[in-house]
Symmetry: C2
Subunit: 135 residues, 2 copies
């Protein structure tokens, strides 16, 4: 079961200007920034209530986020939902016929264990499943 | 200030199949459905933690959602944030240089007072401000 919206991921060309924009828009301060080598992105997080807004800036042309921006431009990239057990959810979703990008959970940003469901199965919405790796 | 993510709006061609998909994906039941005549949409809501997922299906070819789907296909359409006072936020954002779609709050779905900020100003993210009209 999905417990909450963990974050919404937004692809941007320039993290610094996105941070300035969102700070002005929301009147919220930035929570933290992080470099995720595996995805070749710099990310920033803003806490909004019980969820986060995550901005992702590619650090190389090979980054999945660079390819996304090249194809679609900047904008909302994915929705991440918190679940208790990513592996269990992947098994359930696979049986239900959902197409999975990751069939095995992997390490993500923000100390999370994650996996993505393919947007083909979800009305073109890229869905991330998240579980705290510290639990 | 933004208090929380009120909902994420997702444009779909067929509300019934989107509801079935999201119920299977999330293991959550549908909260409610509603027809919004002013926007020519049928909408459904799922409660996920402190936020909602809103699916929007156009009821006519003139609906803004029909035009969005024609141009971009199905997918995430907007993010709505809860604020205490939409009018006050619009004034603040206008002064800060944000381009507004609505300069005056209007009635939206789910008993909310709403207004949209133009995606030009927000890294191509369509942002909705929401305030409970019952408060």
């Amino acid at each position: 079961m999905f417990n909450k919206i963990e974050h919404i991921g937004i692809a941007v060309k320039n993290l610094e200007s996105a941070n300035t924009m969102f700070n002005q828009l929301s009147s919220l301060g930035i929570l933290k920034t992080e470099r995720v080598e595996s995805e070749q992105v710099l990310v920033s997080f803003f806490q909004v209530g019980d969820s986060k807004i995550e901005f992702l800036q590619p650090t190389s042309a090979d980054s999945p986020i660079a390819k996304y921006i090249e194809k679609y431009g900047e904008g909302i990239h994915h929705i991440a939902f918190t679940v208790d057990d990513v592996a269990e959810q992947l098994e359930r979703l696979s049986k239900a016929g959902f197409e999975l990008i990751h069939t095995i959970p992997k390490a993500g940003a923000d100390n999370k264990i994650i996996a993505f469901v393919h947007p083909k199965s979800t009305n073109k919405v890229l869905v991330e499943l998240c579980q705290d790796s510290t639990v």
